[in-house]
């Protein structure tokens, strides 16, 4: 029977062959995207792991010759540079990954992207931060991305031991990533949930293509004595043949475009071509899973209809979905709302609190989708004045599960991405970089360690001599720990940052003249500090603040001067928000990934809907043809098709995005006490682009409508 099924699939005439090609092509697209998703997960995982390996965990001390290692962040024009300082303590010290030897004092290795930057930038702005000589470039194995700016600087052990955040390593490259595995799993899970589900829905839908025509053929076979089991085997074989061919084509497409895909900065940083790889398990899952899944889908779809020798017993109106489907959705929202003001202290506790709520909402959306579709369609049907709207609404109300199936993927994808983008936008808004052109953005400061008793005048003179620098001020440590952290003689406060209170000689000031969560202001009045004027100069120096004209050159030259003067900085000289903005940049990378998921999932939904449209047209070929012959304009039928697919899609998009923002708001309020910041227009633009792509794909099926409703259908079949 399998052999007979194979023969029917590949030698069953032109129609069978066309069907085979269409299904195989659809499966190829689905399988290709599935492979891209799996390879993308591996690539993201690899990128995260390599990034995390720049922050290794310390080994047990006192064993062998450890490698001394300190990782700090530096900045250049808003970009983060990862600076790794190392020192080999003996011949047995491990060599850092990606370089042939551990650099000695006065030697360093730089990443290819940083090499390019160093060559293109005046030395006073960047290269002077790394005195000595370059030994070469860092290999890919140590870099999160080809775009990563990384420098590995060599030191003596004594120098390295004095650096902040230093650790001793007896081995490198085998560290557990500093990022908790659950975080990586969560991120990967978000990608998987957002993209895998639509891909699987699409593959499932594609294999049901032309089901109606196929079922009539099976009825004819039943008439000549085929048993239901034999029919099931033939159907499964046919579906599997198309799926095997499609899967093979999907693999070919994946390997053909793998290099180009790696060059797309899905996470804000490009991948290395080798990052987009497939594990044997991935290959096995796709190579076996897709054809098996296709065969199962065909078998399941046949179980929904009873094929008797006298024909296909059409489905009667299925039982409508009930309102209880809303319960998980409501529970999920309630669960998230419960934790407002009750945030667990530990990160594990927070994961345990928020994850179930989000998962409940995701499950709730999928479960409630058909009920919502039915309610919406019934309302539309009762209010429809035009025949197209009436037919479309009745069809959706009649079988909302079928109507929702093709778009359930985008519901999840849009929910997941809306939550992510809502959270990311809010965090970025609260922690983003200073506004361009503001005094904040023109202020560079560096904190000094407690034992820094004074600042050489030559340093301040050098800073003030840099073109564009307007002030260079050493702020002293305030002995009053409850007040602002700095003290300064009133005469030393640069005019751009305010003045003293009337009558005061010494003021308590912020370490960079910018109070927490506020902006610099020339009208700010700093309170008087109870420190005698003569004692100020004897207090340790807390920070050096450089006021500039905001030009990149003046800021970077100042930063370079300060970096050289204080090479053991804990955190690099920075402009307000720069430290936070590197985190925000990382989040923006994820935002970009979320955008990719939106467009891809909507495109996939478009493909699923297109297949559903073609299937729906095949089922209603005769009544539609006869309607058209009776004078119904084709545009009415086109409108039916368009409404049937676009109305639920748009409704689902609105519900999913709305629920995503609700979930994001609940999470942000509970976890960070932030109010949701509405995403910028680019989010909506991305959604609109995705929806337009989806509609374009649906529109591509419309010519089928005209072709299959021609006059020949009027003749009795």
């Amino acid at each position: 029977m399998i052999r007979f099924g194979l023969r029917l699939a590949v030698a069953g005439g032109r129609e069978a062959l066309t069907r085979l090609i269409i299904i195989a092509t659809s499966v190829a697209v689905g399988a290709g995207l599935l492979l891209v998703t799996l390879a993308g997960l591996n690539a993201v995982n690899g990128q995260l792991t390599r990034y995390a390996s720049l922050y290794p965990s310390p080994s047990a001390e006192g064993i062998g010759d450890p490698l001394w290692w300190s990782t700090r962040e530096d900045y250049f024009r808003g970009e983060q540079i990862v600076r790794v300082d190392v020192a080999a303590s003996g011949p047995g010290s491990p060599t850092p990954v990606g370089v042939p030897t551990t650099p000695g004092p006065g030697e360093y290795y730089v990443s290819p992207a940083l090499t390019e930057l160093l060559e293109a930038t005046p030395a006073a702005e960047l290269a002077d931060r790394y005195p000595g000589r370059s030994l070469g470039t860092i290999g890919d194995a140590a870099l999160p991305s080809p775009d990563a700016l990384v420098v590995i600087v060599g030191h003596t052990v004594d120098d390295a031991a004095a650096l902040p955040n230093v650790r001793q390593l007896t081995s490198v490259g085998a560290d557990t990533p500093a990022l908790p595995e659950t975080v990586v799993d969560l991120i990967v899970g978000v990608i998987a949930g957002g993209l895998l589900f639509p891909v699987l829905i699409f593959i499932g839908t594609a294999t049901r293509l032309s089901a109606a025509r196929r079922e009539h053929r099976f009825a004819a076979m039943r008439l000549v004595g085929a048993t239901p089991r034999q029919i099931s085997i033939i159907a499964a074989t046919e579906a599997a043949v198309a799926a095997v061919a499609g899967t093979a084509l999907g693999f070919a497409l994946f390997y053909a475009f793998r290099g180009q895909l790696a060059a797309i900065p899905f996470t804000g940083m490009r991948f290395f071509p080798g990052d987009m790889f497939l594990r044997p398990l991935d290959v096995l899952v796709v190579a076996l899973g897709v054809p098996t899944g296709a065969a199962l889908a065909a078998w399941v779809s046949l179980r929904r209809v009873r094929i008797s020798p006298l024909g296909v017993t059409r489905r009667v109106t299925p039982r409508p979905p009930r309102a209880y489907r809303l319960i998980p959705l409501v529970l999920g929202v309630a669960e998230l709302a419960y934790f407002i003001g009750r945030r667990p202290v530990t990160s594990d506790g927070q994961t345990a609190a928020f994850l179930p709520g989000l998962l409940l909402i995701m499950a709730g959306l999928v479960l409630a989708g058909p009920w919502l579709t039915m309610v919406g369609a019934r309302v539309l049907a009762n209010r429809a004045r035009r025949p197209a709207a009436l037919i479309a609404a009745r069809r959706l109300a009649d079988n909302p599960k079928a109507g929702f199936r093709a778009i359930s993927g985008i519901m999840l994808a849009l929910f997941v991405t809306s939550v992510s983008i809502g959270v990311i936008t809010t965090i970025v808004a609260n922690r983003g970089p200073a506004q361009v052109g503001s005094t904040d953005a023109a202020t560079l400061s560096t904190g000094l360690s407690d034992d820094e008793l004074s600042v050489p005048d030559s340093l301040l003179v050098e800073l003030r001599s840099i073109p564009g620098v307007r002030s260079a001020t050493a702020v002293h440590r305030n002995p009053d720990r409850m007040a602002d952290p700095g003290v300064l003689a009133c005469t030393d406060i640069p005019a751009a940052y305010g003045r003293c209170a009337d009558g005061a000689t010494v003021a308590a000031v912020a370490h960079n003249f910018i109070p927490f969560r506020e902006s610099a202001s020339a009208t700010r009045v700093w309170p008087a500090a109870p420190v005698p004027l003569d004692d100020v100069q004897r207090l340790p120096v807390a920070s050096i603040v450089v006021g500039t004209d905001g030009s990149a050159a003046s800021l970077e030259r100042s930063r370079t001067v300060l970096s050289r003067a204080y090479p053991d900085f804990w955190s690099a000289p920075s402009v307000p928000g720069e430290f936070e903005s590197s985190f925000a940049d990382q989040l923006r990378g994820w935002q970009q990934l979320a955008n990719v998921i939106i467009v891809a999932s909507l495109g996939l939904a478009g493909c699923s809907l297109a297949v559903s449209v073609v299937g729906g047209l095949s089922e209603r070929r005769r009544p539609f043809s006869l309607l058209r012959l009776s004078g119904a304009p084709v545009r009415v039928l086109r409108r039916v098709v368009a409404l049937e697919s676009t109305v639920p899609m748009l409704a689902v998009a609105v519900v999913a995005i709305g629920m995503g923002f609700v979930a994001a708001q609940l999470f942000l309020k509970a976890q960070m006490d932030y109010m949701l910041t509405a995403p910028g227009p680019e989010f909506y633009a991305i959604v609109i682009v995705g929806l337009a792509a989806c509609l374009g794909i649906i529109a591509s099926t419309l010519p089928v409508l005209e072709r299959i409703t021609g006059p020949e259908t009027a003749r009795s079949e």
Partner: protein
Amino acid sequence: MTIAIEARNVVFSFGQTPALRGASIAVDSGEIVAIMGASGSGKSTLLHCLAGILVPDSGEVLFDGARVDSMTEARRSSLRRDRFGFVFQFGQLVPELTTAENVALPLLLNGTRRAEALRKAHGWFERLGLEGLEHRRSGELSGGQAQRVALARGLVTGPEVLFADEPTGALDSLTGEQVMDLLVTAARAQGTTVILVTHEPRVAAYADREVIVRDGRVNAPDRIAS
């Protein structure tokens, strides 16, 4: 009597296969004509040419003094929608709509308000003995009931010509006769011209006149307009 619709020397081929080889027929207003013939004789093709569904390769089709064969597709569609009615052998009801909505569909397509369209549709349920079936779906009707709904749909706009292509072809003889009784009664009451394609003499007997199509020609046309 005035001629409602007429075909003159209509020739039509499906690719290389000729279906009509110069068929001519004229049907008076209010007349019920049965077109008979063996399978493949060209009777359905003739009906489709008369209704403006197919455009003849040569020859003329006239309705109300206008050349149907030279009209644009849009005008022919409008003609079919506004002035003709159709009943086919089977499968003409939109499965998702209720029977009442199916009957109201041509009115909705004409721009009639929904409430008005449904009110007119309900009037036909009583006339055709379909009371109580207004909210059923096509899948929940017997063959005879579905054809009566289709008949109501074909007549609801008050068409000048009703084209019926094997309207009882999928029904048993008793049910077929009931449908034909209703069709003829309703058409006569409205003064609708009926062109009926059938191969069953018992169905053709309901007509005022029978014409035979053989090898793509109408035998013994009893009247051709001069």
